[in-house]
Symmetry: C2
C-alpha cells in the first residue's frame, strides 16, 4: 500500500490543533514501547506520530485528518497483545487510548456499566467487586484495556461458566475510519435490529473502527467462591476429567489445566510453592485448578463433595480445597504468572525474545489427544515447549522457547514449521486458530489456511466497507500489506 | 431491481435435474402459504417456483442456478415470522427448508447438538427434555424452524436468564449466494479468529446466505422449576418490581408482564381461567409471570420465599405458586396463546388481517413509562391496542387491531403514524426497533430512522459483499427494492 501519505509537519500542526499539543508526539519523543506489543517476535515498527487521546472528539478529529490525507492509523490500548495487532506496520499515527480511563456510570436498573475504552480490566474488576458486583470476563492479563479486550473478544478464566467478552458488550461508541462517530447496540439484552454491527466490531482488532466507549453487562457478585487444586499422575487423566463436571450438572466458573513443568517454573518465578509435587509417594504430572461459585456455603459444600468424588473416581491423586480468599489467591497466583514465568526464562537475541505462542481452541474431548500430538511434533524441533490452558473451554496456550544455540532466523523458521503443523491439526480436529489472542499480523497465514480463501475474501471486503481507504490498522486480521 | 430474470421452463428443468422433480412446484401447484408469513398486513407475493429442499446439496445446486441466471431466491422455514422476512417480494424461487428436519447428533462431551435448519424448535426442545437436557432459547412460537430462529436471533421467554438464540449458536453450515457451501464457527465456546461471520449471519434474516445446518449449545436441564403468578393493581407497580429481583440476587429464568385485558382475551381463547381477577376485593390490573429454576427443592423454596417478599413489598396483591408441571403449564398456556387470542378477535378485510405489531426493546427502567406513553399515543387513533412483553429483558410486543369501521388503507395509514411515533420514542429512551421479531420488509423504515443512514449504508454494503448480485431475499433488512 505504497500510496499512504507520510505525516508532514503541516499534518502535525493540524493534529496539534485538535488535540492538546503536549499530547502529540513525533520523532525521538515517541516512546519505543509504541513499536511493539508483548510478543516482540512479530516485529517492531515505529509510528510517525503518537496521540495520547483524551476524548472521543480528539480521536474523531485525528481520524478525520488521517482520512483526508490518507495516513494509516492504529489504535492502541495497553499494548498487552500477543499477535502484533497494535503494531503500526504501515507507519502513520498511533492513537494511544490509555488516558481515556474513566468508569463513567453504573446503571443498576439494567445491570450495565459505561466505561471509556482505556479503562484497565483490573480497575473495572476491582471497582465492581467493591460494589458487590462482578464483571465476569477475566482474561489472564489484568492490565489490558477494555477496548483491547473487546477488540480481541478476550476470553479468560471464567469463560467456562460466564462466556467471553462478546457476551458482556451491550453497546459501543465507535469512531469510523472517516472520523464519523456512531453507536452500535444499546442498553438492552436482546435485539434483532439489522445485521449485528456490534458483534462484527467485537474481535475486529481495531481494523473496522476505533472503540471509544463501552456499555458492559455486569452481574451481582457471587456470594461464595472456592477453588480446588486437583493433582493427577498424567495430563491425560487430568483433562479426561473435565467433561465429567458438566455431565454431572456442576458448572465451574473456571477450569484450568497445568502441566508440572510450567507450574514449577511459575512457582520459581513467584517464589511460593502451593502445588504438591508428590502425594503419598505418587508423583503429580498435571493439575486441574477448578473454581466454583454459588449463593450459600451449604451449596458450595455440596459442590466440593460432588466434585471431589468425580475427580477421585477419575484417578485424581488428591483434592486440595482453597476456601479462603488468601488460599484462592495463592492457588491462582501460579496460574496467573505463567506468561511472565516463561518470559523470565527466555533468551533475547537481536532485541527480540526467542518466544512464540499459539492459542488454538479445540473441542473439549480433543484437548488431550491434541496436546499429545503437539508434544510429538515438538520433539522433532528440539525446542522447549510449554503448554497450559482453559480446560473448560478447549482453549490452549502452547509456547515455544528458543535457547542460546539458535539464531533468530532459525528460531523463526522452526516456529513457522512447528505452528504450520499444529494449526493444521487443530483445524482437522474441528478447532479454530485463536481462542482469545486473536490474529493481528502474526497469525494471519494460519487463519487463511484454516478458514480458506472464500471467508478471507468476505472479511477483506467487509474491511473495505468500513474502511474504503484501508487506513485503519492496515495489514491485520484478513489481508497482508 | 428490474434486471432480475424470470424462472423460464428451461430453468425449471435445470432445477428439477438437481432436486427431485416431485419436490419442485410451479404456477398453480404452489401453495398460497408461500406468499406470506403470519403478519399478512406486510403484503403477499407468490414465488414463481418452490423447492422443497431435502439437503444442503440441493439448496447449493438450486442457488447456483439462480446465481448464474440472476433469479431472486428466498429461503423459508415454517413461515411463522411477523415482519414479512420470508415473503418473496421480488418473485423468483422460494426454498422451503421444512423437510430438512433431522436432529443429527448430540455431542455430550462438548454439550452441543447438530441439527438441520428445518428442525422445529418444539421438536428440539422436547427431544432435549427427554434426554435430561435443555435448549435454553424459548421463543413464544414453538413451531418455527431453528434456521428461522437463528435468522432472526429469536429471543423468547428464557432470554432473561439464558440469553437469546445468538448465545447458543456455535457453528453453522451456509450456502452462499454463489452456491458455494461454507462453515462458520466451530464446536468451541470461545474464539477470536477473524471477524465473526457467524455472528453476522445470526439475525441476518436469510439475506447473506442460507443456513442449512446448525451446531447449537445445550445445557443440562435444571432439576427444579417453579412459576409464580403475581397480580398487581397497576401496570406501573407490576413493572416497577422487575429490577428488584435481580438486585436481590435472584435470577429468574423468565419474567413476563401481562395486562388484564389481554390475559382475559387469552383465557377466553383457551377456555381456561387461571389468573385471579379479584383478590380480597382488590381488582388486578396487571400480572407478572415469573419462572425460577434451580438444583434442589430447598433452593427453590428459598427463592419462592425471597421472591414473594420482594413482590409483596412492591405492592403485589398476592403471590400464587405453580409448583407442579401441570400448574406451570396452565400458567404459561395463557401467555403462550396471546398472539392467537388477539388474532381470534381480529377482523379480516381484503384478505388481510387488520393487525399490526411492534416489537421494540427498551432499557428495563424505561418499560413502564414507555408503555404509558404508547397508550397515550394510541388514544389519539381510537384503535384497540394490546401489549405484553418480556419484562425481564425490556422487549415489548404492542399490537394494534382494526375493527369493522375502518378500511385497510385507513388502518395502514393509522398504523404507520402510530408506529412512527412510538418507534421514535423507543429510540429516544435508548431502545432498539426490534427485540426478537427482526426487520424483514415491514420494519425497514423504522430501522433506518433509528440507526441512521451511515449504519444502513454499512449494512447494505455488507449485503453486497456476500451477495454482489443482490439475489438473496431482496428488499429486506437494510435496503428497499
Amino acid at each position: 500500500m505504497s500510496e499512504y501519505s507520510k505525516v508532514t509537519p503541516e499534518i502535525v500542526e493540524q493534529i496539534k490543533a485538535v488535540v492538546a499539543p503536549n499530547r502529540v508526539y513525533t520523532g525521538a519523543d515517541i516512546n519505543e514501547d509504541f513499536s511493539h506489543d508483548e510478543m516482540s517476535i512479530y516485529g517492531k515498527a515505529m509510528p510517525e506520530l503518537v496521540v495520547d487521546a483524551a476524548s472521543t472528539e480528539e480521536i474523531a478529529a485525528t481520524m478525520k485528518i488521517a482520512y483526508d490525507n490518507n495516513i494509516p492509523v492504529t489504535a492502541r490500548g495497553a499494548g498487552t497483545g500477543l499477535v502484533g495487532a497494535c503494531v503500526p506496520i504501515a507507519g502513520g499515527i498511533v492513537i494511544n487510548t490509555t488516558k481515556m480511563n474513566k468508569i463513567l456510570e453504573y446503571d443498576l436498573n439494567n445491570f450495565v456499566v459505561k466505561v471509556q475504552c482505556g479503562v484497565l480490566l483490573n480497575d473495572l474488576a476491582e471497582d465492581c467487586v467493591s460494589k458487590g458486583l462482578m464483571y465476569p470476563p477475566d482474561p489472564g492479563e489484568k492490565f489490558a484495556t477494555l477496548g483491547g479486550n473487546v477488540s480481541t473478544n478476550a476470553g479468560g478464566m471464567r469463560a467456562c461458566k460466564y462466556g467471553a467478552t462478546r457476551d458482556y458488550v451491550r453497546a459501543m461508541e465507535v469512531v469510523l475510519p472517516t472520523g464519523e462517530v456512531t453507536r452500535f447496540g444499546s442498553t438492552v439484552s436482546k435485539t434483532s435490529s439489522g445485521y449485528s454491527l456490534l458483534n462484527l466490531m467485537i474481535g475486529s482488532e481495531g481494523t473496522l473502527g476505533i472503540i471509544t466507549e463501552l456499555t458492559l453487562k455486569i452481574i451481582p457478585a457471587p456470594k461464595e467462591v472456592i477453588s480446588l487444586v486437583i493433582p493427577f499422575e498424567t495430563l491425560e487423566d487430568c483433562i479426561g476429567t473435565v467433561p465429567q463436571f458438566k455431565k454431572n450438572g456442576l458448572d465451574p466458573q473456571a477450569l484450568e489445566f497445568m502441566e508440572k513443568a510450567i507450574v514449577q517454573a511459575s512457582e520459581r518465578y513467584i517464589g511460593k510453592s502451593v502445588y504438591p509435587q508428590k502425594i503419598d509417594g505418587v508423583e503429580a504430572g498435571a493439575y486441574l485448578l477448578v473454581t466454583f461459585d454459588g449463593k450459600t456455603k451449604d451449596e458450595l459444600d455440596n459442590i466440593i463433595e460432588e466434585a471431589s468424588e468425580i475427580a477421585l473416581e477419575a484417578d485424581a491423586i488428591d483434592v486440595l480445597v482453597a476456601d479462603t480468599p488468601a488460599k484462592i489467591k495463592d492457588a491462582w497466583a501460579a496460574r496467573s504468572s505463567f506468561l511472565e514465568a516463561i518470559k523470565a526464562e527466555t533468551n533475547w537475541k537481536d532485541g527480540l525474545e526467542m518466544l512464540d505462542e499459539c492459542d488454538v481452541v479445540v473441542p473439549l474431548d480433543k484437548i488431550a489427544p491434541y496436546v499429545e500430538y503437539v508434544y510429538g511434533v515438538g520433539e522433532k524441533f528440539g525446542l522447549r515447549i510449554e503448554s497450559f490452558g482453559h480446560a473448560g473451554d478447549g482453549n490452549l496456550h502452547i509456547y515455544i522457547i528458543g535457547d542460546d544455540k539458535i539464531s533468530v532466523a532459525d528460531f523463526k523458521a522452526k516456529a513457522d514449521e512447528f505452528f504450520d503443523d499444529i494449526y493444521a491439526e487443530a483445524t482437522r480436529v474441528g478447532g479454530l486458530v485463536s481462542g482469545e489472542h486473536a490474529i493481528g499480523s502474526g497469525k494471519l497465514d494460519y487463519l487463511a489456511k484454516s478458514v480458506g480463501p472464500t471467508q478471507m475474501k468476505l472479511m477483506e471486503d467487509i474491511k473495505r466497507v468500513f474502511d474504503p481507504k484501508m487506513i485503519l490498522n492496515p495489514g491485520k486480521v484478513c489481508y497482508k500489506l
